[in-house]
Amino acid sequence: MNAFSLFNYWIVIILMMAGFYTVIASGNLVKKIVGLNIFQTSVFIMYISMGKVIGGTAPIVTVNSELYSNPLPHVLILTAIVVAVATTALGLSLVIRIKEAYHSIEEDDILAISQREDEAE
C-alpha cells in the first residue's frame, strides 16, 4: 500500500480541513455556509470511496462480471446529499433574513449590534 493508493482519502482530509477552517475562521455568513458545504462534501467523497472494490464494475447485473462495487455507501450518501442541500438552503435563507434584519452579513457587525441590544435590555 503506497501513499498514492489512499489518494481519495488525502483529498477527503484536505477538503475537510479546508471546509472546517472556513467555517471557523470566516466572518462572512455566506462563506461560513460554503465552508460547511465543502466540509460535508469531503464526507460524501469518503463514503463514495469506501464503496469502491478494486477491479469491480458498476453494481448492475450482467453476465460478464462477478465482481462489483458496493452500492450501499452510494445510496447512503445520496440521502446525506439531500440533507446537505436542505441544510444549505435553510442556512442561506437564514442569511437573507439576517441581512434584512441587521443590514449586514458580517459576523463581527452582527455580534456588536447584538451585544448592544443585550446591554440595552
Binding site: 460535508q40 464526507v43 447512503l76 440521502t79 440533507v83 437564514l94 442569511v95 439576517i98
Partner: protein, 493 residues
Amino acid sequence: MISHHLPALQVVVPLMAAPLCFLLGRYRRLGWILSTLVSWLCLWIAVRLAFQVADGGQIQYAFGGWAPPWGIEYRVDQLNVLVLLIVSGIASVMFPYSWSSVQNEVDPEQQPLFFTCMLLCLAGLLGITITGDAFNLFVLLEISSLSTYTLISLGRDRRALTASFQYLIMGTIGATFILIGVGILYMLTGTLNMADLSDRIGEIGESRALQAGFGFLIVGIGLKLAMFPLHLWLPNAYAFAPSIVSAFIAATATKVAVYVMVRYLFTIFGHEFSFSAMYIHWLLIPVGLIAVLFTSIVAVFQRDIKRMLAYSSVAQIGYMLVGIGLVSTTGLTATLLHLFNHALMKGALFLSMGAVCYRLGNTLIDNMDGIGRQMPWTMGAFVAGGLSLIGVPLTVGFISKWYLILAALEKGWWPIAVIVVLGSLIAVIYVWRVVEAAYLHQRPDQSVTVVEAPASLLVPTWILVLANYYFGIDASFTTGFTSSAATTLFGAP
C-alpha cells in the same frame, strides 16, 4: 394487525401529519387541532409499546419486511421506550399549550409552518429514539435538527435569527461528525444495524480506525447534547426561540441526544470498549462537573430568565454525563432517571415562563417585580418547578440527585457528591432571584398591570408540575424502569 406495526406508526404518524398540517394552510386552528391529536396518538402508541416491553422484552420491527441487518430495523427495549414516553408525553402536554402562546408570539402567516415544523421535530426525535439503524439515526437527527432551526428562527426578536444560524452551523458540524463516525464503523464492520454493529465491533479488538470513529461520534453527539465546552449554541437558541419551542426542545431534544450517547457507549461500542479501553469516563466526569459548577454560576447572572434556564439545562446535562461516567448501574440509573425527571422540571419551568411572556412580552427579571401577586398560578408553577430543579425531597429532582450521590459514594468518590450538592445550592440562588423579584418586590407604580395567564396555558403547566410531584412521591415506576434498563445495558456485552 395494527398493534404489530406500532413501532413504525410511532414515527410515521407525525411524519405524515406534518405535510397535511402544512396543506391545511390558513385553517390554522385545524392544523393545531390535528397536531394536538397526533401528539396524543403518539403518546398512546408509546404507552402501548411500554406495556409490551415492561417485562424486559424487546420488540423488533423490520421496516418494509426487509430482514435486518440489510433492512432498517426498529427496535424497542426498556431504555428507549422510556425516552419515547418522555418525548411523546411532553409533546402531548405542550401541543395543547401551543395555540395561545403561538398566537401571541408568531406571525399568523407563519403559523401553519410552525405546527408543521413542530410535528417534523416530534417525528425526528421519536425516530432517533426508536431506530435500530445507525444511518437511519443520522437522517432522523437531521430531520429534527432542521425543523428545530426553523422553529427557533420564528422567534420575534431578530437575535433569534443569529441564534438559529449559530445552532445550524454547530449542529451541522455535529451531525457531520456523527456521519463520519458511522462511515468509519461501516468501513470496519460492513453493517449499519446497531445490534449487528455491537457484535462485530467486539470481534475487531484493538484498532486505530475504531478509536477514531469513536472519537468522531462522541464529539458529534457531544455537540448535539450541549456537552460542556460545546454548549455555546444552546443559551441563545433557548432564549430567543418562541416560548413553546424553548420548552419543547429543552425538555426533549437534549434528552434524546443523551439517549443516543448512552446507546452508542453501551449498546454499540459496549461498556468494556468505551470505559476500559477508551477511558471515556475520564472525559465525561470532568466535563460534567465543570458544567455543573460553571454554567450554574453563569445562570445566576442572567437577566433573561429563559436564558438562565438554558444555562441551568447545560448544568443538568452535566449531572447526566457524570452519571454515565461513574460506570455503575446506579450511576446509569441516575442518568436515566434525570433524563426523565429533567424533562418534567424544565418543561414545567419553561411553560410557566411562556405564560409570563404571554402577559409581559418578555421574560426579563427586571420586569417581573411583584408579579407573584398578580399571576399567582403562573409563578406558583415556577416556584414548584424550581423546587424540583433544586432537588427538594418529594420532587423528582430529589430522586435523581439522590441516586447520583449514592452512585458517587458507592465508588468512594465523595468529591463528586460534594460538587453535586454544591450545584444544587447554586440552583437555590438562581431560583431564589426570581422568587425574590416576583414576591418580595413591589410592582412599580407606572408599570402595566398584568392579570393571570389564561387556563389554556395554566392547565398544561400544572399538569407538568404535578407530574414532578407525582413521580417524586411515587418513584416506583421510573426507578423500576430505569434500573432494569441500566442492568440490561451492563449485562449485555
